[in-house]
């Protein structure tokens, strides 16, 4: 409980920082006028542009952190992350396809395509999860599915007639929460809330899976149902994240590792702190993307990979030392 309070405070601090700082510098009097006068330009910058963007980053980070923790628990594998079952790849592929076909400009089409792609891949994996107990089987199918999704995306790049379209797809795939408004957040919550609920329902099964598939199977828990719920929940969360912000790596992989030691490695108790840790990571990553001076704003997916990879290596180093001891 103390961990959840601490992480919530850190998230609040990260959100406050993210709203307070950005490309446009504001004076103290402008901050004061933003609070005093809701219609002022400063208020528009803080609450109309930065706040929804910061919340979008937090929401996507939370969804990816939670999905990563669920995947690691389900597959009993510390290297698992939301993309391991091919969900991100198909989500990205579907979004790239609608951009390439020229219908991406219509409202919400890219977002719906991304969500649809994720749910399609998630449905295939969920069917397999109901049929097969072994995590290795799911991983192998997931790798195949991800490779196919990646290959189709590469094919879209390959056949795309226009460099502008290519650049649009590329920019979208690299991830960003720029220009997100409050209605985008509301739309993302629609799949994220049931996704999170499914993950919470599967939590007890993830804990039992610590002892292996067979022990879990005779524990009295409805493991086939829980596995399907875990996959469906992770697919909803990942799909909604890709729809909102493009493909963003490392958060889903790293967030559970950052908190696991604090919850005594319990896969069920890792879920909520992973969501909060993911939210903090991505909020800060988006802040970094905005404040680092560069001609073109850094893409969120690039920042998370640049900062996430060394951070993750550090976590892996510490974990490896504790395993060896």
């Amino acid at each position: 409980m103390r961990l959840l309070v601490l992480l919530t405070l850190l998230l609040a601090a990260a959100l406050a920082l993210s709203v307070a700082f950005g490309e446009t510098g504001l004076s103290l009097s402008q901050y004061a006028s933003a609070f005093a006068n809701p219609g002022s330009p400063a208020a528009e910058i803080l609450f109309g542009i930065r706040a929804p963007r910061a919340c979008a980053a937090a929401l996507v980070g939370a969804a990816l952190g939670l999905a990563g923790a669920v995947m690691q628990g389900l597959l009993r594998n510390p290297l698992a992350e939301p993309g391991v079952l091919g969900v991100s790849a198909w989500s990205g592929c579907a979004a790239a396809a609608v951009i390439a076909f020229g219908v991406g400009a219509a409202p919400d089409v890219i977002e719906l395509a991304a969500l649809g792609g994720a749910l399609g891949a998630g449905a295939v994996i969920a069917l397999l999860a109901a049929r097969f107990r072994e995590p290795e089987t799911l991983i192998l199918f997931g790798v195949a599915l991800a490779a196919l999704g990646g290959a189709l995306t590469a094919l879209i790049f390959n056949l795309s007639p226009s460099p502008i379209t290519l650049s649009e797809i590329n920019a979208w795939l690299q991830g960003s929460v720029a220009n997100r408004d409050w209605s985008d957040l509301g739309a993302a919550l629609l799949p994220m809330v049931p996704g999170a609920a499914l993950c919470a329902y599967a939590a007890g099964g993830l804990k039992m899976l610590t002892l292996g598939e067979e022990t879990a199977a005779v524990s009295g828990l409805p493991m086939a149902r829980l596995r399907v719920c875990a996959v469906a929940g992770a697919a909803l969360l990942t799909g909604a994240s890709v729809a909102m912000a493009g493909v963003i790596g490392f958060v889903g992989l790293a967030a559970p590792h950052l908190v696991r030691g604090s919850v005594y490695d319990d896969p069920a108790r890792t879920l909520a702190p992973s969501a909060l840790a993911g939210a903090i990571l991505l909020t800060l990553a988006d802040l970094v993307a905005r404040v680092i001076p560069s001609e073109q704003e850094l893409r969120l997916g690039v920042v998370t990979a640049l900062f996430g990879a060394p951070l993750f290596a550090l976590v892996a180093w510490r974990a490896a030392r504790s395993w060896r001891a």
Binding site: G204, T210, E214, A217, G220, L221, S322
Partner: protein, 256 residues
């Protein structure tokens, strides 16, 4: 009174090959039964078939007199606890939390109490807060057995619970399982250590190439003929103060 577990003419096929062939076995409460046989005889498959983890092609499996297929998951779990041979644990959870998974149907604080009592029974009570991946193989095996004991199921099934452990740990683990049988549980264990199985079990079931060769008291089940024909050993079980001891040597290949 119905048997805690009964297999009637069970046949299991995998990839077109018969792993178990018309196997029958019954075990009642208060009894510890050892399932022995060479590698590949079908011991683990029999245990898995008894729990519904391995589908059987023909025959019937009953738990507490009821057909296995008619029982819900929670009903099965309440009637049978299982300790698989695989001792891999995915996460470094504390021993207390691992053992408490056996009592997951209880309220959390009560499950922890049961877990701690079982850990103390296996003489690892002082390690309750330590992560299982930070433990030695022997300590981890005791924690996993504590998880089985915490199920408090009337039928306890353990696949090779003592394999790979030092002699003291082997004796402790089998003593505790024996104790559960004395207290009324039906205990079914597999073992490659024939002398240990003979010392602790009331009866031994000898599996050979998927067929049940004999189910009898240890001295009869491991007669010199069975030792020779099933295990390829020239020798016999010799009574001793501590229990039966196996005195045997490998049979020359030509005489098998």
């Amino acid at each position: 009174m119905s048997a805690a577990l009964e297999l009637k003419d069970v046949t299991v096929r995998r990839a077109g090959r018969e792993i178990l062939n018309d196997v029958s076995l019954a075990i009642a409460g208060g009894e510890m039964l050892g399932l022995v046989g060479p590698n590949g005889a079908g011991k683990s498959t029999l245990l898995r078939a008894a729990l519904g983890l391995q589908p059987h092609a023909s025959g019937a499996v009953e738990l507490g007199g009821q057909a296995l297929g008619a029982l819900s998951g929670p009903e099965r779990a309440a009637m049978a606890g299982y300790l698989p041979q695989e001792r891999r644990v995915a996460w470094n959870m504390p021993a207390r939390d691992i053992a408490a998974l056996g009592a997951a149907n209880l309220e959390a604080s009560r499950a922890r109490e049961v877990a701690e009592a079982c850990l103390a029974e296996l003489e690892v009570g002082d390690l309750a807060g330590r992560g299982v991946l930070d433990m030695s193989g022997g300590e981890r095996a005791r924690v996993l057995l504590a998880r089985l004991l915490a199920t408090r199921a009337p039928l306890l099934i353990a696949d090779e619970p003592a394999t790979g452990l030092d002699p003291e740990a082997q004796l402790l683990i089998l003593e505790r399982l024996r104790q559960r049988a004395v207290e009324g549980a039906a205990v079914l264990v597999t073992s490659h250590d024939l002398a240990l199985a003979a010392r602790f079990c009331d009866r031994l079931a000898v599996l050979d190439h998927g067929r049940m060769r004999i189910v009898a008291e240890p001295m009869a089940a491991l007669s010199p003929d069975i030792l020779a024909e099933v295990f390829g050993l020239d020798g016999a079980l010799m009574p001793s103060e501590a229990g039966p001891t196996l005195v045997a040597r490998r049979r020359p290949t030509a005489s098998r």
